[in-house]
Every structure is written in C-alpha cells, then in structure tokens.
Point group: C2
C-alpha cells in the first residue's frame, strides 16, 4: 500500500475539512497550500478512487442539492496520514529554471538576464501580495482553529523566503546593470584554456 504525495495531500486536506469533492479539494489546496504545493485534477480524481478502494476515505453523499461526490476520512485514513506525517520528508529534486538561466547569463544576448530578473521581481511582488492577503484572512477566520499555528508557520516561511529573495533581487539588479554598463572588458577572444569551477 504505497501511496503517492497526492494521496497524502488529500488525506491531509480531508482531515482539516471533511466532506469535500475532488473539485473542492483542488480549490482548497490552491487557496491554502497553493504557494508551495500544486495539484491537478488529472491526479486528484484517480487518487480519490484509489483511496476509496483502499478504505482510507469514504464517499459520502453530497450534502444539500449539490451534485458533487464528497469524501471523508476513515479511521484507517487518519492512521495512514499520521504515519506519513511521522516519516522523514523527502527532498524533491531541486529545479529552478530561473536560476539556471541566470547561471548561464554570460551566454545570453545582452539585456536578457536583466529582463529575467525584473520578471522575477514582478512575480515575487505578486506572491508577496497574495501571501500577505492570505495571512490577513487566516488571522481573521482561522485564528481559533487548532491547526492555526502550523498554518501560520508555513505562511511566515513563505513570507521570509520572498522577502529575502526580493532583497537579493535588488542588489542583483544593481550588479547586472553595472555589468551591462561596463561589459566583459578586455577581450572578444575567449580563453579556451580556462580551468575549473
């Protein structure tokens, strides 16, 4: 009974908010852990079936007039979630395409790294706005929930990372613009004997 990350995500989400459909789960994910976790319907629906088949969740008829098939955790599902939570998390392979393009910046056409950096800043600012908004909402509506402190921790983590990235981006932009003002100085002749890194 090996489950994938999506399965545990679903168990976790259902542990916080029972009686959710696939569609609803997706929305919840987006608006709560969306800044550090993504899921697609193509992954959610099959996983729901599978979790139900394994008895970790049960379909429970939709409340009211909505047509959506809702699910809730079973005791087995709760146990399963708990066990997973205690396991060491696995580092998924880091891949940052922005950094990769920046790393190869010297090979790029003039102005390209700077443009990327500005786009990066834009994204950071947008994300910062989203997270501060989320924070406000959470404080207003969820401050009494038992999970609240944990939710805030992930939020403050995100905020700390974004702020650090923004600060870095400012100095990085300065450096890049000064680089472009005084470009690779002496030679157009590449040094093919260079060693190392």
């Amino acid at each position: 009974m090996e489950l994938n990350q999506t399965a545990y995500l679903i168990l976790g989400i259902l542990s916080l908010h029972p009686r959710q459909s696939g569609y609803h789960i997706r929305k919840t994910v987006e608006s709560s852990v969306g800044y550090f976790w993504g899921e697609s319907y193509g992954q959610i629906y099959p996983t729901l079936k599978r979790l139900a088949a394994e008895g970790l969740i049960v379909p429970c008829g939709p409340v009211g007039q909505k047509r959506a098939q809702e699910y809730s955790l079973t005791p087995a599902g709760q146990v399963c979630l708990q066990e997973w939570l205690a396991l060491p998390w696995r580092e998924d392979p880091p891949r940052n395409e922005f950094l990769l393009k920046l790393f190869f910046g010297v090979e790029a056409a003039p102005g390209v790294p700077t443009a990327h950096l500005r786009a990066f800043q834009q994204k950071l600012r947008a994300l910062l706005a989203t997270l501060t908004g989320l924070e406000k909402l959470a404080r207003q509506h969820n401050a009494e929930q038992p999970g609240f402190p944990y939710w805030m921790l992930t939020l403050t983590y995100g905020l700390a990372q974004i702020r650090a990235a923004l600060e870095w981006s400012e100095s990085a932009l300065e450096l890049l613009t000064s680089l472009e003002a005084a470009p690779h100085p002496p030679s157009a002749i590449p040094d093919s004997t260079a060693t190392g890194l």
Copy 2:
C-alpha cells in the same frame, strides 16, 4: 525540435566547459548548480545521443588516454542555447513536502513537527556550509572568468534563501516548543462546524 530542460542544461554546461563526457557533465552539474538543479545519468546519456543526432553537439574523441566519449557544442547548439536563454523561464510546480507536513502538523503525533523542524535546520546548516565552501572556491579559481558574476548571483541567492530559512526556523522552533508545553488547550472535542480557510 522541442528540447527538455536536461538538454538545455547540457548545452549550458558545455558552453562553459567544452569537451566533457556524460559522466563529467553530471559531476560538473553537481558541483556547480547542484544546489538548485539535479540530473541523473538516466537522463543525461540519452539526451547526449539526441543532441548529437540533432547536430547541437558533436562527439569529439577523448583527449589523452581517457576512454570517455566527450562532447562539445556546435554553432547550432550555441544558437539553440541562446534562444532558450531568452525565453521566459517556466515555473515548475512548487512542491515542498517539508512544508506540507508542517502544515498538517496538528494531525501529527506529539513531537513530530518539532523533529522535522530540527532535521530541516540540520539540512540547512549543511547546505550553508556547502555553499560558503563553494563561494570560496569560486572566488579563488573563477573570479576572472566572464561568467563569474552570474555564478556568484546564483550563489548569493542560495545563501540568502538559506539564511532566511534558518532565521525562520529559529523562531518556528520556539513557537513549536511553546505549543508543546501548552498543548491544544480546552477541548478534546473537535469542532466539526468550523469553517473557512
């Protein structure tokens, strides 16, 4: 001619250091961009073949007595790399299992989130040591290379992120330990009518 990220990584690496074998490329990746990019041999070797078939790199007999098949960029490969560099980077779906487990922390057995947090700190400290070491090496051996400023930018980004994460982790640990001292206070009765987030 759609290429995957691995292909561009290889082109980029070969643009910095020509005449590398698959094995060598992997090592270079590990020691230069390893903290934000991972690659496996199972991906590198087939991609090398493919890049060669498309004329973006050429196999060039190994220099000296080594048996390894080495490759270099072709002009077409350089163009291809340049084009890719100018394209907007794609955000790969964020997935942070550590944060996810922390987010569901209230469901975990006592002490589990704290343990995860400590493990997180350990990893951060190890990474910090690696990066500061890398930084020193780079300054010593690569300060004159044209790509140096860009390499340093990615490094300082990593360092900034790690430092911010470490600071966060300190306050997070404080919060968690105080939480454990005074656990979910009033009720063992879960509030099933709770709304929101």
